[in-house]
């Protein structure tokens, strides 16, 4: 990153550049494959993340088949079940959500929204994608190696993660660690780009307080990820050494298969500290971009300025900072010094304050808005409701005395799927519908989109609401089968079967979504450059889809914040960020 040339290296980039200086790929390869254009990289990231995400979706079907109908499917055994759980969790959290929000939406939206031509280090940005792809391939290869992928659970706790008896002890765990290390290296390259682009490449007039909240969310999440992922890196490297070289960073002395193992003295608790030092910020790394995007979706489709913009920005920053001192609430039952728990319970509950501020502001933005229930708006509303639900059960689990009996039950599974599974996915889907016209120049099919929303939204509740109840009954998570257990009534088994049927239905309904995207790409109506009549810069590009260099010869100049919707006296119900004040007055004069 030392000597990558970037036009206008000091301060703001030049407003106007001759055509020859714009980035022009010379061949098909550099245009679509080894492209340094952030928009192409964004699409590459999104497609790769979605592809591996589909694998994780299929894994969840297999798990649900086993849980709903134990003993029926001979091709699922206990070891495979653990492998499915591990890979499903790891893929969804890291390789899908993190990559999609930061690598996908970050790459596409940051340069366009801040009015830049591209990321500041395009070459490093390209490298970031290819390292990510390598990480995904290494991860996917574990399905085909002897012993299969690791079955250690997505938290990969030692000692069990690397002991014999855990599936995937030979190759799976080694490749998993390698893949994580690669992912973090790749992400760091991309993350540097996102941060420095927001800091350095904003166009004239784009002050920090004029940034759309999407950019604030992605920016803050990227800063957090840059600081949190090193903890996972450290944990992965050390666990890899424990496995490969027989060091004892994390491994205590223990008897393995009747024999005293070579390990001794290591601290499994140390791994948990490192893992959750990454793991908790990770929740907000996924949540903050979602918060930002949903703010913009709601404001645009309710034709109202976002309520409490400043408070929204401060809340994003506050959540980002606080999320680094709550990690041990994942470790109440780990055997750490018990009084720590009360400190972390307190910080956990404090983080509910800025989060609640955000929820109130979304609701107040909707209040008396001109709400258009288009598909992106439906998903945004779905997000708010789901996030409140998942957040409330988070308050339960954040308290030590409530968490201890609920720990390792289906209640926890239901909680985190609501708050960081369904809720961010709602935003991802809403955001795809929202920006699809900009990316492709065509409109999606509305009827299919609405069908997709209702099945996904209602289905998610039918899946995860009953799961809370199962957790309260004491049904444990990560169990291959429950067998005849006295405290689990037979109704719980029927409920499990019901959940499985719904899960499969919702899963297959996602094919409608994929079909819609593919079909609309060729047959969709032409959307025009700004179908939502939105204010932010990405909708004001001279071409749709935006060309290389985004803006043609001249960069846009920003005169206002991103939320001038339904301004009293204005001719239209939105004023783009790059519209000069006198132009507005002229229109106002003409209107009056």
């Amino acid at each position: 990153m030392v000597d990558i040339p970037y036009e206008g290296i000091a301060g703001t980039p030049p407003a106007e550049v001759p055509d020859v200086e714009l980035y022009h790929p010379r061949s098909w390869w550099t245009r679509y494959v080894f492209s340094q254009d952030a928009k192409v990289i964004a699409i590459q990231y999104s497609l790769t993340a979605s592809a591996i995400g589909l694998v994780a979706l299929v894994l969840s079907w297999l798990m649900r088949l086993q849980l709903g109908f134990p003993g029926t499917f001979s091709f699922i055994d206990a070891n495979q079940y653990l492998q499915f759980i591990t890979m499903h969790g790891m893929i969804m959290v890291i390789y899908l959500l993190t990559a999609l929000f930061l690598g996908g939406f970050g790459n596409y939206l940051i340069p366009l929204m801040v009015g830049a031509r591209d990321m500041v280090f395009p070459y490093v940005n390209m490298l970031s994608y290819w390292v990510y792809l390598l990480a995904v391939l290494v991860l996917a290869s574990t399905f085909f190696v002897p012993g299969g992928p690791t079955g250690a659970g997505w938290t990969l706790y030692p000692p069990q993660a690397i002991l014999s008896g855990t599936p995937g002890q030979d190759w799976g765990i080694i490749l998993m660690m390698s893949s994580l290390i690669l992912f973090i290296i790749g992400f760091t390259m991309g993350g540097l780009n996102y941060v420095v682009t927001v800091l350095q490449a904003r166009t004239r007039g784009m002050t920090l307080m004029r940034l759309p909240l999407t950019v604030w969310g992605i920016f803050t999440a990227t800063v957090m990820a840059l600081l949190a992922f090193p903890a996972l890196f450290v944990a992965s490297v050390m666990l890899l050494l424990d496995r490969l070289l027989g060091t004892s960073f994390f491994m205590p002395s223990l008897v393995e298969m009747g024999q005293l193992s070579k390990y001794g003295g290591g601290s499994p608790l140390l791994f948990q500290h490192l893992f959750w030092f990454f793991g908790h910020p990770e929740v907000y790394i996924v949540a903050l971009p979602a918060f930002g995007i949903v703010s913009d979706l709601i404001s645009t489709h309710a034709r109202k300025n976002i309520f409490g913009y400043r408070m929204m920005v401060w809340a994003i920053v506050a959540i980002g900072a606080l999320s680094f001192i709550v990690w041990a609430h994942h470790m109440y039952v780990s055997g750490m010094f018990p009084q720590f728990g009360y400190f972390f319970a307190t910080t956990t509950l404090i983080i509910a304050i800025p989060t609640a501020i955000k929820v109130y502001n979304w609701v107040l933005t909707l209040w008396r808005g001109d709400i258009h229930l288009r598909v992106p708006m439906l998903f945004a509303l779905g997000f708010i409701i789901t996030f409140v639900n998942g957040g409330l059960t988070g308050l339960f689990l954040g308290n030590v005395v409530v968490d201890v009996p609920l720990s390792d039950t289906m209640f926890v599974v239901a909680h985190f799927h609501m708050v960081m599974g369904v809720a961010p996915i709602m935003v991802v889907l809403g955001a795809i519908y929202h920006w699809y016209p900009k990316v492709t120049g065509r409109m999606y099919n509305d009827a299919l989109g609405k069908f997709h929303f209702w099945v996904t939204f209602l289905g998610a509740y039918l899946i995860f609401f009953p799961m809370h109840y199962l957790g309260l009954l004491g049904v444990p998570r990560r169990y291959f089968e429950l067998g005849d257990t006295s405290f689990i009534p037979s109704s719980a088994h029927s409920l499990n079967a019901f959940i499985s049927v719904v899960a499969l239905t919702v899963g297959f309904s996602q094919m409608v979504f994929l079909f819609n995207l593919a079909w609309s790409l060729f047959k969709g109506e032409a959307s025009g450059g700004n179908p939502w009549r939105a204010t932010t810069l990405e909708w004001q590009t001279p071409e749709t889809p935006p060309g290389h260099g985004n803006w043609g010869k001249e960069l846009p100049v920003v005169y206002r914040w991103a939320y001038d919707y339904s301004v009293p006296g204005a001719a239209e119900d939105f004023i783009p960020q790059n519209q000069p004040p006198h132009a507005t007055q002229l229109i106002q004069g003409a209107a009056s």
Partner: protein
């Protein structure tokens, strides 16, 4: 984990200071017009590559501080046996200091438009860094020959791990230094190369600092200091 929390607190202070300069209390809905009408909030005047390096150094520091956190937590377990530090490390440290000095020389020369001085500084710095890496490998060999293997004690494991991570960062730096030197060699204008030389020098100073901290930790020199900090915290 107190080391990383302290580090994050320092970063938070820096970030807070920077944010306080950005008019986060502005009311953007009232401020219509070109940005020049309102003070603050423009992009930084630093070159993007320099900001990029700064962000990268923050990430690399977080990585090293996390290793140090793990080190200090693992150290408390009873099986820890501090290993004797090979004398060679002192020589290596001296070489790394020389390497840093050479790059500083190069940086100063770049601002005096002294192309020859820049080249000498870059080459000397690069050569010293390569000698340092060789010396580190030799130190590994000496420890191995004396029976201090990577898995025989956690102190050994950390020694090999930390030196390896530091060495890899330096190797990455050598790639950038090599590219800068090649460009200089091919006769790039000195004004175009100033920034690259400066960034190399900053990175080298950073790695020297990291090495001095690691050395203090590995030799046990900082134990007293760490104990004082612990007492203050508890």
């Amino acid at each position: 984990m107190s080391a990383i929390i302290l580090f994050l607190a320092v970063l938070a202070v820096i970030a807070g200071w920077w944010l306080s300069q950005q008019r986060l209390t502005a009311k953007p809905w009232l401020e219509e017009g070109p940005a020049g009408d309102f003070p603050g909030g423009d992009a930084m005047t630093w070159p993007a590559a320099k900001v990029g390096l700064g962000v990268f150094l923050a990430v690399a520091s977080a990585l090293f501080v996390l290793f140090i956190s793990a080190y200090s937590m693992r150290m408390d377990v009873a099986d820890w046996r501090t290993l004797p530090v090979p004398r060679l490390l002192w020589f290596n440290t001296g070489v790394l200091i020389l390497s840093s000095v050479a790059l500083q020389w190069s940086y100063v020369a770049a601002y005096r438009d002294d192309a020859e001085g820049v080249m000498i500084g870059l080459l000397a710095g690069g050569a010293a860094a390569v000698i340092f890496l060789g010396g580190q490998l030799l130190a590994w060999q000496q420890l191995g020959a004396a029976g201090y293997f990577v898995a025989s004690n956690p102190a050994n494991s950390f020694f090999y791990l930390l030196t390896a991570v530091h060495g890899l960062h330096l190797t990455g730096g050598l790639v950038a230094l090599g590219r800068t030197s090649t460009k200089m060699w091919r006769g790039a204008g000195i004004a175009d190369m100033r920034l690259s030389v400066e960034l190399c020098a900053i990175y080298w100073h950073f790695l020297l600092l990291v090495w001095l901290v690691l050395l203090g930790l590995l030799t046990g020199w900082t134990d007293d200091f760490v104990n004082i900090c612990r007492r203050l915290l508890s």
